[in-house]
Symmetry: C2
Subunit: 230 residues, 2 copies
DNA sequence: GTCTATAACCGGATAGAC
DNA sequence: GTCTATCCGGTTATAGAC
């Protein structure tokens, strides 16, 4: 599923070891969940000493961070093709969200821990933190691309803020997914389909010149909240 | 601040011990934060054995749950008077939210941990969990009261779902508060004032007979999502 | 700079005696 | 109900090998 090539030719020994440890950890996380996976077990299956695991990953949580950027990249890659091919906004958005859900599905079992640490304002894993700024920026940029290539015209003010709002929206979907215990995550898919429809309608409605005053007011509120991210 | 009388006359020895442990724990949490407070330190200052602390509280997290229901009750009490006196919906809602923010303010320092555990779907602290059902129900009931005594007429379908929606809204405010590092939590207060205004306008708009189809559609979506709480 | 092995520390949690 | 002893696992420290 999430196989990653460990090309020994292109990697130093250290990079290889690090990669092996990460793969092993994710494997165990998927098998048993996060809490149930001990650092000792990871080291053992990866055939390294416990101390060595800590040499490459400062803590168990840092393994999660590595996981984050990995799935994030997978997701970007998986989305590219769609973005080049599909012009319809609604289909673009829905497609992106589906790709995302597919990418993270294997990890649903330990999603709770992910989110738990992510929700802590002190944690570097917090998606609003300075630490995750690069990933966040990339992610928001992707939503900008979703809009960019679509067959819609947006007023400038909305166009600027919308990628961020869509990113927030996708975080909301993710939050729902985490709590979704339905078979095959049906509820999440249903929610996604319904809300994408609403979101697209709202975007079109909000672009209407008549809505300018309301739109301005709403965007000002959003801008204000955004400041609080720090 | 959060002094609670420990009336020995009215309590069995066990209840007393339990109360002492809880008070000591909250004291230490406020002093040093959650992570920095060890169960051993709590037991020591409370003059009980470590094992005894675990006799009364199944885990360190369960101390948080006790804290929850405590502030929850304080909040209910603080809100009662307002609800009996004020007829204007907007003022009622704003007042309730202000009371809430006041009650939790002393604990802002370890609010992160609160939310972190609360966000874990597995955790009993999760506000959507079965474990927190009693508190949740009470809280939703309070929002029903906010509507009940107000000078507005609502269509039946909306009246039924709205308390839950307001509860969700207040959770959103809380989430923002957790991440709010501004002096005196100014941002949170500003956000609250602005959004309360919007919420009340939306409620009035949504009650308009012309909005019936849209309202029905929205409420159906909400009802569907609500099922997923389990 | 990469890695092993081993021991130890710390704190949450549990068992079982009294 | 209360205690002591113990386990368990994240984390650290050390000392040394390639």
């Amino acid at each position: 599923m999430s196989e990653v090539k460990l090309e020994p030719g292109k990697m130093t020994k250290g990079e290889q070891t690090k990669a092996v440890i990460l793969e092993t950890a994710l494997e165990l996380f998927r098998e048993r969940g996060y809490e149930e996976t001990t650092m000792r077990a990871i080291a053992e299956r990866a055939n390294v000493a416990l101390g060595n695991a800590y040499y490459y990953f400062r803590s168990k949580e840092h393994l999660i961070q590595a996981f984050y950027s990995r799935t994030h990249e997978e997701r970007l890659a998986a989305s590219l093709e769609l973005l080049e091919r599909e012009p319809d906004l609604q289909k673009r958005l829905l497609g992106i969200l589906h790709k995302m859900l597919e990418t993270i599905e294997p990890y649903h079992k330990f999603a709770g821990v992910l989110f738990r640490t992510a929700a802590d304002p002190e944690s570097p894993l917090n998606p609003f933190s300075a630490d995750s700024e690069p990933t966040r920026r990339q992610s928001i940029a992707m939503f900008a691309q979703v809009l960019e290539g679509a067959n819609v015209k947006l007023p400038k003010d909305l166009k600027e803020e919308l990628p961020y709002l869509l990113w927030l929206y996708h975080m909301g979907i993710t939050l729902f997914w985490i709590h979704d215990a339905s078979p095959e995550r049906r509820r999440t898919y249903r929610l996604t389909e319904r809300t994408v429809d609403i979101v697209v309608k709202l975007i079109k409605l909000g672009s209407n010149p008549l809505m300018r005053p309301l739109r301005k007011a709403a965007l000002r509120l959003v801008a204000e909240l955004r400041e609080a991210d720090a």
